[in-house]
Symmetry: C2
Subunit: 418 residues, 2 copies
C-alpha cells in the first residue's frame, strides 16, 4: 500500500467512525475519557520508554532546548495529561444543544442544534501531550480525529495512541475514531490536506511557515492557530505602577507563547517618567530591548528598532518599544502590524479605552489586564484546542463548542411552499 492509499484508508475509516461517534451519549464519552486517563497512568513505564527512544534520536540532530523540553515526557506530565482528560470529561457535552428554535407562520418548527464537525485532522509539532489533549477534545465533541504529530515524537505518539485505543474500544469508542498517521514522511501532510471527501476540517498547530503552507495548499477547510504579535499600549492616563506590572507579566512570565507581548507602545506624555523605570525592570530580567528613535532619546543604551522588529513575533526575551503621539497612532500601528490575536490598553480614561476596544481589530482586546490571559481555560471554556486568529467560524480561544457546527431540524405536518 502506498503512503497515499494508506492515508486515504485512515481518512475513510475516520469518516465511517464519525457517523457513529457523533451519536454517543455524554455518559459513554465520559466513560471512555476516564478509561483513557487511567490507562495512561497505568502504562506510564511503556510511555516513558517510547519517549526515551524519541529523545535518543534527537541527540543526533541539532535540536533546541525548548524543542527537547516540549518533546520530553515525565511522570508528572503523564499525570497532567491524564488529569486533562478527566477535566474534559467533566465539561458539558456541546453535542445536541439547541441553539435556537422558532415556529413559523405556517406552523413549521425550526430547531437549530449543535452537531459535531465530523472528521478533524490535527497537524502539530513534536509535543506528545497534544496527542492526548486533541484526542480528548475531539472525542468529547463527537468528532473522529486524525492525528499527525511531529516526526520527532513518533514513538511517543504511537505508544500513546495505542494505549488510548486499547482503553477506549471496550468502553464503546467506535473503531477508527482516534487514528494516528503512522509515518514520519512529510508527504503525509500533503496527502491529508487534500482529502476533502473525508475530512471536514484541518487544524494546524505549529510554526508560521507550516501553517501558511497548509493554508495555501489545503482543499479541506482550515482553522488556523496563528501567530501572536501582541501589543500593549500604555496610555498617558495609565496608572504607571499597574502598567509596569502588566507589561512585565505579558513579556516575561512566559515569553515563548503566542499571547506574550512583543511590542510595547507608550504615549509620549508619560514616556519620560515610565520608560526608564520599565527599562530597568526589563533589563534586570535580561530582556533585550529595541526602541524607536524617540525611545532611544530617553534611553540611549538600547538598540534601535527597525520595521522588521514591528513585524516580528520574537517568542523570546526580546521586546520592541515605540513611543506614539496619540491613541490613534497606537491603534494604527496595531492594526498594521498586529496578528489579530491579543492587544491591550492600559488607561484610566474610559473613553479612550472604549475607542481602543472598538477600533482594534483582534480576537481579544484588553483594558487594564495582561494579554497572557488569552487562553481557553482562562476564558472559562474549560479546555482549548488552539487560539484562532481568523475571523470565520471561531475567533480567539477555541474549546469544545468551536469543534462543532449546527444543523437545522424542521418539523412539519405536510407544509408545502406556495
Amino acid at each position: 500500500m502506498t503512503l497515499k492509499e494508506k492515508i486515504k484508508e485512515n481518512a475513510s475509516l475516520a469518516k465511517i467512525a464519525a457517523g457513529k461517534i457523533k451519536n454517543l451519549s455524554a455518559t459513554v464519552k465520559n466513560g471512555i475519557l476516564l478509561a483513557i486517563a487511567s490507562a495512561l497512568e497505568k502504562n506510564e513505564k511503556e510511555i516513558l520508554e517510547a519517549n526515551r527512544k524519541d529523545l535518543h534520536l534527537t541527540r543526533e540532530k541539532k535540536c533546541s532546548c525548548a524543542f527537547i523540553e516540549r518533546l520530553t515526557l515525565t511522570r508528572e506530565r503523564i499525570k497532567s495529561m491524564a488529569d486533562g482528560l478527566r477535566k474534559v470529561a467533566s465539561l458539558p457535552d456541546p453535542v445536541g444543544e439547541t441553539i435556537g428554535e422558532i415556529v413559523r407562520y405556517n406552523g413549521l418548527r425550526i430547531k437549530k442544534v449543535r452537531v459535531p464537525l465530523g472528521v478533524i485532522g490535527i497537524i502539530y509539532e513534536s509535543r506528545p501531550n497534544v496527542t492526548c489533549d486533541a484526542a480528548g477534545l475531539c472525542l468529547k465533541s463527537g468528532n473522529a480525529v486524525l492525528l499527525r504529530g511531529g516526526s520527532f515524537a513518533f514513538n511517543s505518539n504511537l505508544c500513546l495512541v495505542k494505549i488510548m485505543i486499547e482503553a477506549a474500544l471496550p468502553k464503546g469508542l467506535p473503531e477508527g475514531s482516534i487514528q494516528f498517521i503512522e509515518t514520519t514522511e512529510r508527504e503525509a501532510i500533503g496527502e491529508l490536506i487534500c482529502l476533502d471527501e473525508f475530512i471536514d476540517v484541518i487544524i494546524p498547530r505549529g510554526g508560521e511557515e507550516m501553517i501558511k503552507n497548509i493554508k495555501s495548499n489545503s482543499s479541506v477547510p482550515v482553522i488556523t492557530h496563528g501567530k501572536g504579535l501582541c501589543h500593549i499600549y500604555v496610555d498617558k492616563e495609565a496608572i504607571l505602577e499597574q502598567a509596569q506590572k502588566i507589561c512585565f507579566n505579558a513579556k516575561v512570565q512566559r515569553p515563548g507563547v503566542c499571547n506574550a507581548m512583543e511590542t510595547l507602545l507608550i504615549h509620549k506624555d508619560i514616556a519620560k517618567e515610565f520608560l526608564p523605570k520599565m527599562v530597568k525592570i526589563f533589563e534586570e530580567a535580561a530582556v533585550e530591548l529595541r526602541g524607536c528613535k524617540k525611545t532611544k532619546k530617553i534611553v540611549s543604551s538600547i538598540k534601535e528598532a527597525t520595521v522588521e522588529d514591528w513585524e516580528t513575533e520574537y517568542l523570546s526575551l526580546i521586546l520592541s518599544i515605540k513611543i506614539v503621539d496619540s491613541l490613534n497612532e497606537a491603534i494604527e500601528h496595531i492594526n498594521q502590524y498586529g496578528s489579530q490575536h491579543s492587544e491591550a490598553i492600559i488607561t484610566e480614561n474610559k473613553e479612550r479605552a472604549e475607542q481602543f476596544l472598538s477600533r482594534v481589530d483582534a480576537a481579544s482586546v484588553y483594558w487594564n489586564a495582561s494579554t497572557r490571559f488569552s487562553d481557553g481555560e482562562e476564558f472559562g471554556l474549560g479546555a482549548e484546542i488552539g487560539i484562532s486568529t481568523q475571523k470565520l467560524h471561531a475567533r480567539g480561544p477555541m474549546g469544545l463548542r468551536e469543534l462543532t457546527t449546527y444543523k437545522f431540524l424542521i418539523y412539519g405536518n405536510g407544509q408545502i411552499r406556495t
Copy 2:
C-alpha cells in the same frame, strides 16, 4: 494602471472603509438603506436603459431563456429590489450584540460581542438584483463589499452601484464601502481571491464549476453557496397523499433552485401503491423520470437511472427515483450522493423520523415538509445572502448574523497571570 493594480486599489480602499463602516449606528445604516431604495425607484429609467444595453449584447451570444430572464430588469423588479432594501433596514442590527459575558475568578470580565467580518467579496452571476441585495446586507452588517457580478450584467451593475453610492454618501456611507469591480475580464476574479491582505471573506454564488475553482484557488477564506442535490425519502409509514403533495411541490414548484428535490427515495413496502399515482402526477407536469431497476418493474415506461443520475443536480424538470429496502438504505444513499443542503423524510413513525433527522448529514433536515423551505426568509432570518453547504462558520441559510464574527473584550483592573 494594470488590472491587478486596479483591483488591489479597490480592495485597499475597501479595507479602509471597513474600519469606518463597522462603527456606524443602526440609525445611520438604515437611513442609507432607505435613501438607496428611493434612489433606485427614482432612477428607474436610467437603470432600465443600462439593462437594455446588457440585454442587447446577449442577442449576439447564445444565451438560455433562463439566463436572459435572470438578467432582465423591469419596473416591478426595481421596485422589489428597493423593497428588499427597506426590509433589510427594518431588521435588527447584528453588530454590537453581546453573545456572552462572564466574570472570572480573578475579576476579569470577558464579553463576547458581535462585530462585522470586515471586507466581503461577492462573486456572482449576471443577476443585477444580487448587486443591490448583497450591498444592502453587507452594509447593514457593517461590512465593506466588493461586488463582482457576471459580465453580461456589466452596464446594469455599473448603473446600480453608481446610483447606490450617490444616494448613500450624503447619508454617511464611508467612501469605498460599496465598490463595483469595473471590468468584464475574467482575470479579475483570480486577482480578487488572492488579496487576503485586504479581503476577509469571499462568497461565490453561481455554478458548481465556478465555485469549485474559486475554492481551490482562493487564499481568502470562502463561504460556499454550494449545490443542492436534495432528496425526499417516503417511508413505509408515510401518509401517501401528504407525501404526494410534498414531493410534487419540492420538484415542480420551482425546479431551477437549489432546494428543489432531485432524487425521490421510496420504501419498497409502499412503492406499488405510491409510485404509479406519483408518476402520473409528475408526468402530467411534464417531469422527466428516471428510475432504478425496481422502479422500472413497477413503472416500466420510464428511463433507467444510472449512477450519474444519483450524482446530478438537474435544476430542471427531471427527477430520479430509487426504491430502497430500508430507512438505512435511504440514509446511506443520501449521505453518499447528497450535497448536505436539504433532505426530507415523510413518515408518521416518530422513531424513524428521529433516526433520519439525526443521521442525515445536511444543513437542513425535514420531517413531513417540502425541502423548498430552505431559505433565509422562510427560516425567519429576514433576508439571505446565500445558503451554505459547508460546515465551518455558517451552515444553511445565511442572513445578517452570518456576515459577522465576534471579538472578546476583556475588562480588568490590573490582572496579571501567575
